[in-house]
Symmetry: C2
Subunit: 436 residues, 2 copies
């Protein structure tokens, strides 16, 4: 049996969705690296009784460690340290040395906010130095310290690791938490397991369901493999978790997927299409440029997400208006009049215009109807036209009807474009029968 | 006592963070509109025993209704309907009429995927027609039906609403779920309460903590107000929930915030800075254009997020390379050599270049060091320079050191730019003492 963990994300703003939780997923990855089985994430508001219930649930589910994020700030709704201390049967005490360290941090911080009253700020932050007796204190990254709180001696149950809510502070503090003796003792039963990811593009989920049934019936079957499939931004991800003893079963399963889905399987090593496009551009020594209408800069934004992208991203044009399409990307206004702004022809002219304007090797043109308005019978909401143009006359163009609302159509369009760029860079022909 | 609800989001891909949960937050808003108190969101993997524990926890926490999302697909790891049926003490039965409806949907769907085997797909999807006896079936939006499942007669406990995982399907199905008799009966105790949001920019959280203490000590105090504060993309949100009887207390609290934070409070009606910028551009009849370096198109992407933004967004330039800054935005290469690409001067030239190239009224220039590489002693990672230029020589420029990693710096930069645009559009002067 592997060690198990639960995560408690606190904050009414997360529960209500005003803030997207980035800590649960990040902590889940860290736990996986340590071989700890992540069983639950609970999101709770800033009510002490609900937080207490969440801790009680995880303890009764038999987890060995609980990680909390958030609720360590200076306002009265920040109650995590106190709730955890009580839950673990430990008294709350003022840690003088910690108060001093927080004071030093505040002095530095205050220089950025001239005109504030230092005494009032210190009063607000004193509560951050009140911690459960016997807890391991983790040095603040912002102003809030973290805590590793084992149950009081005699009490059984999980050890609780208390981390701050801001993702940057939590991430910077994590190594200290993971290195704490009490944490190591709590996860002593961690298993050695592997996680493999296959990614496919242009395939419905029911096709993979068939392959899973075929794999189950053949050879070593699926024993020992924990397989989950999910659709994500138009791609299908197949993630498998297994202990080393099931390696043969996994290899047989992966071989079957390769054989049955050779045309849609694009990643077997965990790489994303973004990373593949970056590597292909680097190895070709080529630069890329965009001319976007309905996506309004999102593809350029996605291409520049990766550090070092200045090596191969020349830049882009956001040509939302027809005037801009003509002035910046050189799309003939007569073409727009004759075939319409949303057309494969205009997408091709945009791709050529992006190459020319930025002096790039590869150009991408996107034009479509993101909605909710602007759709017609022949050009409905969700219709998006793409073109990718490269050196030596290489070109791939496509027109797709994408599902969903405005945000879905815009985001999905960047994924389609990425896959078309990947195909062009791999020298694949423009085979329109490939569902892309 | 108000009716209470819990949400269970299923899927190992959500638990591990490969997919961001968009359903929990959306459902939370719908529950709030109905006056139902949302107490917990649990994220669980695709293991039946963990899902069962999650339902048990919510039932024992006394919620009146549980909403699940996901786990209704055709693969073997999709087990929600069965787990919920068993939890509610109901037998699983094949619904023939439902199987027929799913069959019709698949026939239409198959026309998009020529070459697939219809019989195999139908077999994969038959399990989607096996539902708990006595449940209300909600018509499929994709291929999966939803369910409203009250406890079997004699059993107490919450009613469970089972919805599909894809956000578009879940949202489209929600009105039918909310209209079901069994759902209405479960939330009969819903309260009438109000939610108000204040947004501030350029203020540390400890300042609001002080204001909360002052409000608590004065006049009607904070009785009956449930106030949560949170930092979000560089903005501070103060959300207050209260029943109608506490309206006076809320009004007094809001007046105090207005008085103490007049210079940083920018929204009292729930509007975002994005919406305010859109409204200001519309009322001025102005267009906007961008020239972005380190943000690589993210500001243009954000400006075009809102439907109808083609009315005021002219377009943008993504000028990642110095050559592009000169060729497209007309930044003199001599200026780049003398002051460096990351400088307020180049930001100003970018803003002017964006106005000129796109023929827009307002131009925004952004240039900075997003990291992780590229920082120097005088221009460290996180240093970003902004300029907004408008008609009649209006201009606001700023240089900021933004915290966090590459993604944080890029995203936060779009927020700073939005606030600078807002100030220029409101005719505010370029007061550098305002912390923006």
């Amino acid at each position: 049996m592997s060690a198990r963990a639960g995560i408690v994300v606190t904050g009414t703003e997360v529960l209500s969705g005003r803030v997207t939780d980035r800590n649960g997923p990040w902590l889940s990855d860290r736990l996986a690296e340590l071989g700890v089985d992540h069983a639950f994430t609970l999101v709770v508001g800033d009510r002490p009784e609900d937080m207490d219930r969440a801790l009680g649930f995880l303890a009764s589910s038999g987890v060995d460690v609980i990680i909390t994020s958030g609720g360590l700030g200076p306002t009265a709704d920040d109650v995590t340290a106190e709730v955890v201390g009580r839950f673990q049967g430990r008294e709350m005490v003022l840690d003088d040395a910690l108060e001093g360290r927080i004071g030093e941090i505040l002095d530095r911080y205050m220089s950025r906010w001239p005109g504030l009253d230092p005494a009032a700020i210190r009063a607000s932050n004193r509560k951050q130095a009140i911690v459960p007796a016997g807890a391991t204190v983790l040095d603040p990254v912002g102003t809030a310290p973290g805590l590793v709180v084992p149950p009081a001696s005699g009490n059984g149950g999980p050890t609780v690791v208390v981390l701050p809510g801001p993702p940057r502070e939590l991430r910077e503090m994590w190594p200290a938490a993971a290195a704490a003796d009490a944490f190591g003792a709590a996860i002593a039963g961690a298993a050695d397991y592997r996680i493999r990811t296959l990614r496919l593009y242009g395939i419905p989920e029911s096709e993979i369901a068939q392959t899973l049934r075929a794999a189950d019936a053949a050879g070593p079957g699926l024993d020992g493999l924990e397989i989950t499939t999910c659709l994500r931004r138009g791609e299908l991800e197949v993630v498998t978790r297994y202990e080393p003893g099931a390696a043969d079963a996994y290899d047989a399963f992966e071989a079957l997927v390769r054989a049955r889905h050779a045309d849609t399987l694009f990643s077997t090593d965990g790489s994303t299409v973004d990373e593949q496009v970056a590597a292909l551009l680097r190895s070709a020594g080529w630069t890329i440029a965009t001319a976007e209408s309905c996506t309004g800069g999102l593809l350029a934004g996605r291409l520049t997400d990766l550090a070092g992208s200045s090596d191969y991203v020349a830049g882009g044009l956001v040509v939302y208006s027809n005037e801009a399409k003509t002035a910046l990307a050189g799309v003939p206004s007569s073409l727009i009049v004759s075939v319409g702004a949303v057309s494969v022809e205009v997408a091709e002219a945009l791709a050529d215009g992006a190459r020319r304007a930025l002096g790039a090797d590869v150009g991408v043109g996107i034009t479509g109807v993101a909605g909710p308005g602007g759709g017609t019978a022949t050009k409905p909401v969700g219709l998006v036209c793409f073109s990718v143009a490269g050196p030596e006359g290489r070109r791939i163009a496509r027109s797709s009807r994408l599902p969903g609302g405005r945000a879905d159509v815009r985001e999905r369009s960047t994924t389609v474009a990425m896959h078309l760029v990947r195909r062009l860079l791999r020298g694949e022909t423009d085979d329109a029968s490939v569902l892309i």
